[in-house]
């Protein structure tokens, strides 16, 4: 019994240290994408912690929480990734020296932020990317995902 308690305590300690280090990366990460993958790893560590609780208490009441976490954990990273890519696509028309925050990178505090066309992140211009770029993204989406081949592909299969 003491061996089992030691294993459970050691696993909890390892997971706690791992979560702490990931939170350090989450705070320090220079770009938004770093923080995004940090939150994804944090969700995975949370899944591991809940599974450890299930295994230590032998009660399966927390298993639906695990299912929902595993099912919805990727939504935030997908949303942030799309937002960051759209943010840069709008900036491609900007002048060369106008650094429009590539990948949402933290601006250099010593560098003066250019007063170019950089709306606030909450404004509708930031949420809506340019139309041709969006169309190119849709074409690339259709080319890379095998499930969206169009209606005729589904008809052939069915």
């Amino acid at each position: 019994m003491s061996l089992q308690t030691a294993l459970i305590g050691g696993s909890a300690l390892l997971l706690s240290v791992a979560a702490l280090l990931v939170v350090v990366r989450l705070v320090r990460g220079p770009s938004v994408l770093d923080r995004t993958i940090s939150t994804e790893v944090l969700i995975s560590i949370l899944v591991c912690g809940l599974a450890l609780h299930i295994a230590s208490s032998r009660s399966s009441t927390t298993l639906p929480v695990l299912v929902s976490l595993a099912l919805t954990g990727f939504v935030g990273s997908v949303a942030v990734a799309r937002f960051v890519a759209g943010d840069h696509d709008r900036g491609r028309d900007a002048p060369e020296d106008g650094h429009l925050g590539a990948a949402g990178q933290d601006p250099d505090p010593e560098e003066e932020v250019p007063a170019g066309p950089q709306p606030a992140p909450g404004s509708p211009a930031a949420a809506r990317p340019e139309v041709p770029v969006d169309r190119a993204a849709a074409v690339e989406d259709a080319a890379t995902s095998p499930d969206r081949e169009g209606p005729e592909g589904g008809g052939r299969r069915g």
Binding site: L3, Q4, L7, I8, G10, S11, A12, L14, L15, V17, A18, A19, L20, L21, V22, V24, R25, S31, L33, D34, T36, I37, S38, E40, V41, S44, I45, V47, C48, A51, L52, I54, A55, R58, S60, L63, P64, L66, V67, A70, L71, G73, F74, S77, V78, A81, R82, V84, A85, D87, H88, D89, A102, A103, Q105, T144
Partner: protein, 110 residues
Amino acid sequence: MVEQVLDIAGLVAIALGALVCLTTALGMLRFPDLLTRMHAATKPQVLGVLLVLLGVALRLRTDLGLVALVALFQLLTIPVGAFMVARASRRTDLPPTDPFPPPSDDSPSS
């Protein structure tokens, strides 16, 4: 006897998964680039979670369908998020670091 062996084996699997998570956290902290950090970040999301779920299945021995469902959803949804993040990092102009930098003075040589 067999149940005790299964319990110990499940806990050892969970400890291995936690060790994988700790290794990943070290990689997330130490690696210099977004893509290398993504390389480190995929380890707990697949290997760590699967090891921990194997340990849970060995120890719980009931409700194995839900445990398999967690593993299936994790394996299905993780590549979607990783693909989107990698595509966003390619579309934005993040300065890529040299994967094989020339040896400098501060490189660990000892």
